[in-house]
């Protein structure tokens, strides 16, 4: 429950070792495959060519521009969706009558993939930024709502009863009981929501954009620049991992009593 931070040194290296070894092996395999001629020429770049393409993008400014455009979209969409999703999750998780009214609707909307909504979003809002941000926000909202709802509805009733019998008014029961009790679920919801934001970002940009990581992938695809596409995928992967690590670190800081 109260994990003491692992001191850097042999222990940390011991945990990192297998992961580094596997990454090294994958890199070697990739290199060998690209060099073996088993794949038609031009369809599989070597790791070196991928890094070179990445460096090219960094030098001519396209990488920074795409990154900025994508981060702004994903960030704004995520913020809006996470805010609304958390608020709704707290409301339906805490109020059974509201949940009974709203859950069937959410269960119907949730399985519809965000990609399927791209044409509709474009028809309604055009190909501008609004459509993309709203699409991402919508996808994040549904994901975060579900997780937060689940976490809040599992807050032990004895906690809330104890707070009421100790004379805590509504605002204290929310801020000092419901919020901390649901914090582990909230952080899990935000991590999941961030991954959904990335998915929705790609879907939104493939629907038409002027800059962005996924938009660049599409352009590079049209010119069969496989090395650049690999570089773009690499950036998307690193971005996803970085955001997740950041949120996980926040989780250890703010929800240390959680089950994970």
């Amino acid at each position: 429950m109260h994990a003491t931070p692992t001191p850097p040194g042999p222990a940390a290296l011991g945990r990192l070792g297998p992961a580094l070894a596997a990454a090294g092996a994958a890199l070697g395999l990739w290199y060998a495959l690209a060099r073996s001629g088993a794949v038609a020429p031009g369809l599989l770049p070597t790791p070196g060519q991928t890094v070179a393409a990445l460096a090219d993008g960094a030098r001519d400014g396209t990488l920074a521009g795409d990154l900025a455009a994508s981060l702004a979209r994903a960030g704004q969409g995520f913020a809006l969706g996470a805010l609304l999703g958390s608020a709704l999750g707290f409301a339906t998780g805490h109020l059974p009558w509201l949940s009974a009214a709203v859950t069937p609707l959410v269960s119907f909307l949730r399985p519809i993939p965000a990609i399927a909504l791209v044409p509709l979003a474009t028809a309604w809002f055009g190909i501008g930024e609004t459509a993309k941000r709203l699409l991402i926000a919508y996808a994040v909202l549904l994901a975060v709502w579900l997780y937060v709802h689940d976490g809040v509805s599992r807050v032990p009733v004895t906690h809330l009863r104890a707070a009421r019998s100790l004379g805590a008014p509504l605002h204290r029961r929310f801020a000092e009981v419901l919020l901390p009790a649901a914090a582990p679920a909230l952080l899990a919801a935000l991590r999941y929501g961030a991954s959904v934001a990335l998915l929705a970002l790609v879907a939104a940009e493939l629907g038409g954009a002027e800059a962005g990581l996924a938009y660049r992938l599409q352009v590079d695809g049209q010119f069969l620049r496989v090395d650049r596409m690999f570089a773009g995928l690499l950036v998307l992967g690193v971005l996803g991992v970085a955001v997740d690590l950041l949120l996980a670190a926040a989780g250890r800081r703010f929800a240390h009593w959680g089950p994970s």
Binding site: M1, H2, P156, T158, H159, R161, A162, A163, R164, S165, L166, G167, A168, R172, E176, V177, P180, A181, A183, H256, W257
Partner: protein
């Protein structure tokens, strides 16, 4: 301060609707708890002990009858009636001291004063050492000590306990019983203690009320004379319990 509790014609049915009322869990239950008395509510599992306690606490709405504390009708939960549950009621994100301070916030004290009082309350239940520990770092008995300290810190008139020592081993249990007896004698609170353990009821209370039947009601009401345990009384209570 201690105040009397009066339960008059209490009936409870869970669920159900206006058209189709639920089958009653409790029927026409009467119970008078004089100010400063210690009463054990004894009965088999499912007979409605927690329901009676929940009604006095204000969480369970009666379908009939009424409950008053010093003549004032109970309409919901309030800090005049302190609660100790069987387990899992401490806030796991707060230390032992933090849990007690939660109860003290109501009194509008300064931060330092709150801290001093919380530490004193923990010392009173024999937990001065563990004040900065989280519930997960405390044993079951220590957690219930914190729960007692927290309930008492809110300065209730009535203390309601629902099988508070049910999850503890025998030795810890008898230590906690001693602690509770001492706290009651010192504070003079009106105590209602729910248990399904005859020996616990007889060891702790001045009076043992046997609840039973379906729907539940009061089957027997015994005064427990002070002094060493009386095997005859135990047999009598056991017979009432078996009849329920």
């Amino acid at each position: 301060m201690s105040r009397p509790v009066r339960i008059e014609g209490l009936a409870v049915g869970y669920g159900g609707s206006r058209r189709r009322p639920a089958a009653p869990v409790l029927e026409r239950t009467d119970l008078d708890l004089p100010a400063g008395s210690f009463t054990a509510l004894l009965g088999p599992s499912g007979c409605g002990k927690s329901t009676v306690l929940g009604a006095v606490a204000g969480f369970v709405r009666p379908t009939a009858g009424r409950i008053t504390v010093a003549g004032v009708p109970v309409t919901g939960p309030g800090p005049d009636r302190g609660l100790v549950f069987q387990q899992y009621a401490l806030f796991p994100w707060r230390t032992a001291r933090g849990n007690v301070e939660f109860a003290l916030k109501r009194l509008g004290l300064r931060r330092a004063e709150r801290r001093t009082r919380a530490l004193a309350a923990l010392a009173e239940v024999g937990l001065a050492e563990g004040a900065e520990k989280y519930p997960a770092q405390l044993s079951g008995g220590m957690q219930q000590r914190v729960a007692l300290a927290r309930a008492l810190a809110a300065e209730p008139d009535v203390l309601l306990l629902d099988e508070p020592f049910g999850a503890l081993d025998a030795l810890t249990r008898s230590r906690m019983q001693e602690l509770l007896r001492g706290l009651w004698q010192r504070t003079g609170l009106t105590v209602l203690f729910v248990t399904h353990d005859i020996d616990e009821a007889l060891a702790l209370a001045e009076r043992v009320v046997v609840l039973g039947g379906s729907p539940g009601r009061v089957l027997a009401d015994h005064a427990v004379p002070p002094g060493p345990p009386d095997p005859g009384l135990r047999e009598l209570v056991a017979a009432h319990l078996a009849a329920g």
